[in-house]
Symmetry: C2
Subunit: 411 residues, 2 copies
């Protein structure tokens, strides 16, 4: 009997795609479906990025260096330095999107069977990469009551084992929007120093912090040189998800060299995407001001609506473009399915991501959903009205004890 590998069987379906068949059916019925389920920015890719590709004179579209073209790596290093991240040209490896940076980091830093600690809820796709790399994810739990702040260090220490090789963080966080404070990052780095662990830092949403805050890069911390591997991408930063351009950045030369062997395995990153990335790296910092203001307005709109819905609670996310909300429903996944199958308001409904897919511990997040505010404000408003109407009539509505948000942590 021909069989699929165990890892092939174990690979999960993306949490933001579980409800996709129901969304397709709803659209087939003629309903408008607002997609709050996936972090695909709707904001236009800056035209000068595409123009850079379109202007290029290419005779032979050949392989590049395995770490990317020198010109792009130099411009990316300059961007990092402008952003306060002390990365040199030699520290930068261009990858096929952030995805490949995650894969290379896992393959390079962990053996099969080794353990990686992640605070849940976390980006569900880490689980898929962990399965592909044979790595075991061990979780500590962040709580909505704390705005998903860093769990106590004692929780991390409690799960460190001889197989633990790394801690992974994502800040600003997908899916919570929480932005780790500098002292939280220092505490995590201290833990990594104490226990000889790598600190894998997913900084995809670096530029999107609100209320005047900025994200601290783990790589900018003193003493981070040997420990930190940054996994980066231009996807969210410049609304360029389809370019598939990311980067692995580390000052640990051993890690860089080993990761580079994995990079050589696939020869080179996408060439046309690198042309686009190069133009992106040259955008002035002011580019982010407008986009950030738009996302902040959407976040405010989303949170205002959510908090006005009886029984709904959510922290104010400090960054990224997600919010996790707890809803007064029996089961967020059933509710999400019901929204698409049974509900409509003025022939409109919405698709959201049930948050249980972002937790590893069974049973957590049953009443929580992740909403991505990647719609223009009019559509976002309409989606929020739908959600409010839906909660009024959902047959599985339950009364929840009110969440006491600790505002010290919540924004």
């Amino acid at each position: 009997m021909l069989e699929i590998s165990q890892r092939g069987q174990a690979m999960p379906v993306s949490p933001f795609r579980k409800l996709a068949p129901y969304a397709e059916a709803a659209k087939a019925q003629g309903k408008t479906v607002y997609h709050l389920n996936i972090g695909q920015p709707d904001i236009q890719t800056p035209p000068q990025l595409l123009e850079a590709v379109q202007r290029a004179h290419i005779g032979v579209l050949g392989y590049s260096h395995g770490a990317g073209t020198e010109s792009y790596r130099r411009k990316l290093a300059a961007y990092y330095q402008r952003t306060g991240i002390p990365a040199q040209f030699e520290d930068v490896m261009v990858t096929t999107a952030g995805s490949e940076a995650i894969l290379f980091a896992f393959l390079t830093c962990l053996n099969p069977g080794d353990e990686l600690i992640v605070a849940e809820p976390f980006y569900g796709t880490y689980t898929a990469f962990a399965i592909a790399a044979g790595v075991k994810i061990v979780t500590v739990t962040a709580h909505i009551e704390d705005g998903f702040a860093l769990p106590p260090l004692a929780d991390f220490e409690a799960v460190i084992s001889p197989r633990t090789k790394a801690i992974l963080l994502c800040s600003p966080s997908n899916p919570t929007g929480y932005v780790y404070r500098r002292d939280e990052l220092e505490a995590l780095l201290g833990l990594c120093q104490k226990h000889d662990l790598y600190l894998l830092s997913d900084e995809a949403y670096r530029e999107y912090c609100y209320d005047g805050a900025t994200a601290t890069s783990a790589l900018s911390l003193p003493g981070s040189e040997q420990h930190v591997v940054v996994m980066d991408t231009i996807s969210k930063r410049y609304s360029a998800c389809g370019a598939r351009i990311g980067a692995l950045v580390t000052r640990n030369q051993q890690v860089w060299t080993a990761a580079f062997r994995f990079a050589q395995m696939r020869i080179s990153p996408p060439g046309l995407g690198m042309l686009l990335g190069e133009a992106a790296a040259e955008l002035p910092p002011s580019y982010f001001d407008e986009t950030r203001a738009e996302y902040q307005a959407r976040r405010d709109l989303t949170v205002r609506h959510l908090r006005a819905m009886p029984g709904v609670s959510c922290p104010v996310p400090g960054g990224a473009f997600y919010v996790i909300a707890r809803l007064p429903v029996d089961d967020a996944q059933l509710f999400g399915q019901w929204l698409l199958e049974e509900f409509s308001h003025e022939n409109q409904t919405l698709m959201l991501s049930p948050a249980n897919g972002f937790y590893q511990t069974p049973g957590l997040g049953q009443q929580e959903v992740r909403l991505a505010y990647v719609l223009n404000q009019r559509d976002l408003e309409a989606a929020m009205v739908c959600l409010a109407e839906a909660l009024k009539v959902y047959p599985g509505r339950v009364e929840l004890a009110e969440v006491q948000l600790s505002e010290a942590h919540a924004s």
Copy 2:
């Protein structure tokens, strides 16, 4: 102590890159170095492919479907059908170059510790993917005397174990240029049927067969449906290595579905490259005639020169753009290094790939090199003159028993 993973330490340096530092040093000395070491076509990327990207109106460069855009998948399926490969739209998954198709095939079809049989010499990068996926490559040996034809089936049967899950073939072959005959493919498929094995078929060089021959796709064989996974790429076919666009094609729906979960892990393939690939899939079959004729002329030139050098023997490769030659030298790697460090002829020299990197069995291929004929004919001629001159004066020259080429197999 922070340590690199075992697989990170085990990752090999690409055989065609081992001599790279010596080539850089030679160029720094002002020597012209002819690169016969890497299969990077010099032939221009068809301009209409780049124009398709440059003409596209893109507002948001977003994620595509995990298996690629529907329009590209449909055009690719049409190309396969024109080529005699019975692949439907549903069987096609767009990947980030052939590399990713190899990775997904390994991850999907084999468990860590499972065995994959490959005839050596083989594309060295398979080793890297096998290490990344925790798969063990077991070899049977093809011989230069037979023109690198399929080794006897008994050799395969002798190495099949309970852990064997798949046989991998590459036809037309990198690095040998050998094109498997239909009866050889049928024999391999029969073996896979008998032992419940997958047949992983790397068909990157499909369009480049010479002397009027055509390559048979493993997927076109009756009874191949459940067994065959084709790993494909547009890199060599259209001189578009930098686009990083490939495909995994299988009619086994279980395999497709499991591989698709790995595809969803990295969300989508490169968007700009898919626009280029779409235009490529629409090129008329006549596009290949001119390119094929050019490669055939180069092959003839290369083989003619090699065979005129005393003590050198090589089969006539039937496809791809490589030839493996046995040289009268003590050690091809030392010779390759000497060519770059010590030798020049009219201030020119050449870089080649020592073939030991394409064998897994220690000691094999010590006198063999792989030459990629991806230079224009004038440069190729100059490189061949350099090689002939070098062999006259190389201090490590040895006399080899003459290779008796079995011409029945050699072309």
